[in-house]
Amino acid sequence: EPEVTQTPSHQVTQMGQEVILRCVPISNHLYFYWYRQILGQKVEFLVSFYNNEISEKSEIFDDQFSVERPDGSNFTLKIRSTKLEDSAMYFCASTEGRSNTGELFFGEGSRLTVL
């Protein structure tokens, strides 16, 4: 069964460093998402991406964050200068298209620890 894959599964970084989290969505999907979950808190929407541009973003997704689909298969989330509060589990998700009924297919997550 097709699945969304994410790398790395766990990354530890120093505050102020740049981090790139990678995702390979399901191949025929057109909409891509990043969510995050800070330990003990809700899963929060960060950004959605369609047709090579951001379609929606939350207030969490500030100038420190960026997304890219560099090669037609990967979907990346970059954090330019990490802060302690960026420590979280980051989930990538994808879905087929505009007619979808809200079901997202999630990856297993990338745990980011900022020291």
């Binding site: 969510y35 809700k42 899963v43 929407f45 959605s48 298209g97 979808n100 009924t101 079901e103 997202l104």
Partner: protein
């Protein structure tokens, strides 16, 4: 904007007992409703969803949920749980746009013991 409240952060239950995980939502527009499950060290997996029609929806692994519009609730139930049901359960809503942004609750940890 929508919001989701899961009142119980943790629900301990014995194997073969029934369980209900509560979810309430608020929204100014009509929504789709979902339950996702996260097993240890795995991603979020769709358990069931309500889009329209019958208010009682059945999902995988013997779970079901009932949509109650007047009470704005979508509680998840299972008549007899197994050890393998131990996981985190997330209630979520999305509005009716074709591309959907999910709003999640904080999650409920279901702990099934022998």
């Amino acid at each position: 904007a929508q919001s989701v409240t899961q009142l119980d952060s943790q629900v301990p239950v014995f194997e073969e007992a029934p369980v209900e995980l509560r979810c309430n939502y608020s929204s100014s527009v009509s929504v789709y409703l979902f339950w996702y499950v996260q097993y240890p060290n795995q991603g979020l997996q769709l358990l069931l969803k309500y889009l329209s029609g019958s208010t009682l929806v059945k999902g995988i692994n013997g779970f079901e949920a009932e949509f109650n519009k007047s009470q704005t609730s979508f509680h998840l139930r299972k008549p007899s749980v197994h050890i393998s049901d131990t996981a985190e359960y997330f209630c979520a809503v999305s509005d009716l746009r074709g591309y959907s942004t999910l709003t999640f609750g904080k999650g409920t940890m279901l702990l099934v013991s022998p």
